[in-house]
Amino acid sequence: MQDEPMVSLEALAAAVPDGALLAVPKDSSGVAMAATRELVRRGVRGLHLVCVPTGGIQADILIGAGAVGTIETSAVTMGEFGPAPRFTAAVRDASLRVMDATCPAVYAALQAGEKGIPFIPLRGLIGSDVLRHRGDWKVVDNPFDQNDPIALLPAIRPDVSLFHAPYADRYGNVFVGRNRDLMTMAHASVQTLVTVEELVDENLLEDPARAGSTLPAIYVSRIAVAKKGAWPLALGENYPDDEAMLSRYVSLACTADGFRIFLEDWLQQQRVAA
């Protein structure tokens, strides 16, 4: 290890500059909620948020807190808890730029980012209003065939990807299990910031059973330990969704005032817990 990647949660959040192109995973893949709290606390602004490939409470809180200028996503939803209230409100009053995508387009564009190529073709899309409203996507004729139109998407190369994982080792390798989206994000991003439940002593890459599910340290810029760092979202088999908290969020955040009450409480609670 050339640089010590282990930092405090505050130092990790400080590595996300205002205006960053920030990639975050879907709710089930390990969302860095504790780090998101630090971002909100320090008043991050003008984020271009890329949801891989959908967003939930994390995106909704960031939008409600005024941290997001543009969101690029296939959906923002609170799942069975209902619509994402601050996202919905921001769309209605046009205070948020939305780049509507479709899930495989987000993945494909990140894969182009991984490969360092400028664009990638993708099937589907043609004839949809998703494509029609994406000025950055084009349709060309397949150069290897005739009369075969196909969409091209520019690569996504995030400034930062941010996620939460069960554990990392002291060498900076991060266990991601089956959440391979996290690997794709890290490969494509300039910097990757990771929060983990805990650090382990053994080198994960020396364990053949886990090495293939490990994101190697070369991709990882900073790691902070955050116990229950995905809360109120689930983290794989470590802990489930906090359903009471998620329900409470949705009912409070349906008004701007209710959201402010939630936010004050949320920021305060954690400071005590930390």
Binding site: R123, G127, L131, D181
Partner: protein, 254 residues
């Protein structure tokens, strides 16, 4: 005479629509399609493979979210389910919102994988329980995914059926029209017309949607209810438990 609930009828109907599939995938927030797919697998004697997103037991993916889409592109998924806040008579679906995009009056979550999977999965079943004129519209306000495409557009998939709380439609891709195949017990063709904002084909006499038989109901209430609870515990409790009123199926119903 058998008692069954509307939810059980939908599950049994979905299983019927999936007959002969090798691999069925079910997306997020889809407890009824998930139950139908698990029932179809049971009825196939375990021949059918079913992938339920959000499940640990019924999900073999190890390459992340992209795997579903890559499988679809390779023809390894035979059936999938899509819904829509709006669905029109040409099977265009809208998952984005009403009014003028982007400042939608009512904004829904977004298009998810629809703008891709609708083109590539051969048997897409449109499943939307609410059957009203606000859902079944003459023309969608935003095309998340088109029902049909020009002949030169690469498209091996598309709409196969539309299943709602009132009835079951098939879709003719050449004529770009739905056809009412059956009406659920307790509802009528007139009720469906009154609640549909687009024209559709329909025989003079439209049959009732076949009622689930006793072994099917036993499976839904037993194994399927247990299996779907892994992913959708609230659904299993609230809609497959004893809390939903059962409808009495009368043989003389029209």
């Amino acid at each position: 005479m058998t008692d069954y609930s509307p939810t059980e009828l939908l599950i049994a109907t979905i299983a019927h629509l999936l007959q002969g599939c090798r691999h069925v995938a079910v997306g997020a927030s889809s407890p009824v399609p998930g139950s139908g797919a698990l029932l179809a697998r049971l009825q196939s004697g375990g021949e059918m493979r079913v992938t339920v997103l959000g499940s640990l037991k019924n999900n073999f993916f190890t390459s992340g979210g992209v795997e579903l889409f890559d499988l679809a592109a390779q023809g390894r998924i035979d059936a999938f389910f899509l819904g829509g806040g709006q669905i029109d008579g040409e099977a265009n679906i809208n998952l984005v919102g009403t009014g003028t995009y982007p400042a939608s009056e009512v904004r829904w979550p977004g298009s998810f994988g629809s703008a891709y999977l609708y083109f590539l999965v051969p048997r897409v079943i449109l499943f939307r329980e609410e059957h009203t004129r606000r859902v079944m519209v003459p023309k969608v306000d935003f095309v998340s995914a088109p029902g049909t495409s020009a002949p030169n557009v690469h498209r091996r998939g598309g709409p196969h059926a539309l299943l709602t709380e009132l009835g079951l439609f098939s879709f003719d891709r050449q004529r770009r029209r739905f056809r009412l195949e059956s009406v659920h017990a307790g509802h009528s063709v007139e009720e469906i017309r009154d609640n549909t904002g687009f024209e559709f084909d329909c025989a003079d006499k439209v049959p009732l949607t076949p009622a689930p038989d006793a072994p099917t109901l036993a499976a839904i209430r037993g194994d399927i209810s247990t299996e779907i609870a892994e992913t959708y515990p609230r659904f299993a409790e609230q809609r497959l438990g004893t809390q939903e009123k059962t409808r009495k199926q009368t043989t003389g119903n029209r």
